[in-house]
């Protein structure tokens, strides 16, 4: 009991961004390609502060998917970081590259457009996210609490690279405190 409490305290001491960074590192995900977003900033900063990672931004999310696909074929695991609106630009590329060739793409998506959104454009784009993932048979796990975070992130990374089926980790405002 005491041990469990200590574990919990240690976990609680880390921010969601640090927990995700550590899980990526533990699973050998070195390449981080992103189109930035305010919610993702603490994760991007935590990753860029750690020399283990090679992290950089692209002009479009499609490019980022191409880069991690090429890197994986050449032996390097990667992840794509984007906002909800980024995923909405990707169905053609996801269907015709990772799905077609069975190349695993791990995606981390900051969920914009729900739970207090002020921009109608963002709110409507958000409604496309889960149907897009569903239509390609991709799992999308919504991350809402620190407590389950490492478990879901760690297991999802392992499943993506174990099965070669792409999946998304969705950062809910419940986790990120909803600062758009």
């Amino acid at each position: 009991m005491e041990v469990l409490e200590k574990v919990e305290e240690a976990v609680n001491a880390l921010s969601w961004a640090e927990i995700m960074r550590d899980s990526l590192k533990r699973n050998g995900v070195k390449l981080v390609v992103y189109v930035p977003d305010r919610v993702l900033t603490p994760l991007i900063e935590a990753i860029e502060a750690d020399s283990y990672f090679q992290a950089f931004s692209t002009a479009r999310e499609e490019e980022a998917v191409g880069i991690v696909c090429g890197a994986w074929m050449a032996g390097m695991k990667g992840v794509v970081l984007m906002q909800t609106s980024g995923l909405a630009t990707l169905p053609n590329v996801l269907a015709s590259l990772p799905c077609t060739y069975q190349i695993p793409v791990l995606m981390i998506i900051s969920e914009r457009g729900t739970l207090g959104e002020f921009n109608r454009g963002q709110a409507l784009v958000c409604k496309t996210m889960r149907p897009i993932l569903d239509s390609m048979g991709m799992e999308g796990h919504t991350l809402t609490s620190i407590r389950e975070l490492d478990f879901i992130v760690d297991r999802t990374i392992k499943q993506v690279f174990g099965t070669l089926d792409s999946a998304a980790l969705i950062i809910s405002p419940l986790l990120s405190s909803g600062k758009f």
């Binding site: 090679q54 479009r60 499609e62 880069i67 890197a71 060739y101």
Partner: protein, 192 residues
């Protein structure tokens, strides 16, 4: 624009002859890909079946993961126009092992030869320069292509060659089994 142009298949054969056994090629979709196949299939060629515009990004991923291997991205003008931002990313990352060749016939030949922006003055080499890529050339003859490849082949910086080509149809059709393409490519990347 010079009226003299090259033939895509002939240009691809010249490129293929220059490739070393360990050099990887990412073939963008369309007739560029068909002539890459027709010029002689190689295990270290990755033949795209969709994701138009992503030859340079896929090649960048391979180049970053295996910095000791030369990687060539082969695209068409229509494809690169769809993803011009990747030239900015390429300039930023500046891999020393990645070259890009763009076959430019000024049209979407495979869909009915509708003209692209390059037929109206868009200069892909100038776009590359403006993105920050310094090592570039536009060539329209075999001698000029050979000279550009001689100049760039050993440099440790990204380079871009735009090849002005005619509108001859491709000489073959790429095999379309994605898993075979991917597994042959990956095996070759691991072994070579």
């Amino acid at each position: 624009m010079s009226v003299e142009v090259m033939n895509r298949y002939d240009a691809t054969v010249r490129l293929r002859a220059r490739l070393g056994d360990e050099d990887a090629v990412i073939g963008g979709i369309g007739n560029t890909n068909f002539d890459l196949w027709a010029a002689g299939p190689r295990n270290l060629n990755f033949y795209m079946l969709g994701s138009m515009g992503l030859a340079v990004p896929i090649a960048l991923g391979v180049a970053l993961a295996q910095p000791g291997r030369r990687v060539i991205a082969l695209e068409g003008d229509g494809s690169i126009l769809m993803q011009l931002g990747c030239l900015s990313t390429l300039a930023k990352m500046a891999p020393g092992n990645l070259g890009t060749i763009i076959m430019d016939n000024g049209c979407y030949q495979i869909t009915g030869s509708q003209p692209t922006g390059t037929a109206f003055g868009t200069d892909v080499e100038a776009v590359a320069n403006a993105c920050g890529l310094a090592h570039t050339a536009t060539v329209a003859t075999e001698a000029a292509l050979d000279a550009a490849l001689d100049r760039f082949w050993q440099i440790e910086a990204p380079w871009v060659i735009v090849v002005k080509i005619d509108s001859e149809p491709p000489r073959g059709t790429t095999e379309r089994d994605p898993l075979r393409i991917r597994m042959r490519f990956m095996d070759a990347l691991t072994l070579a």
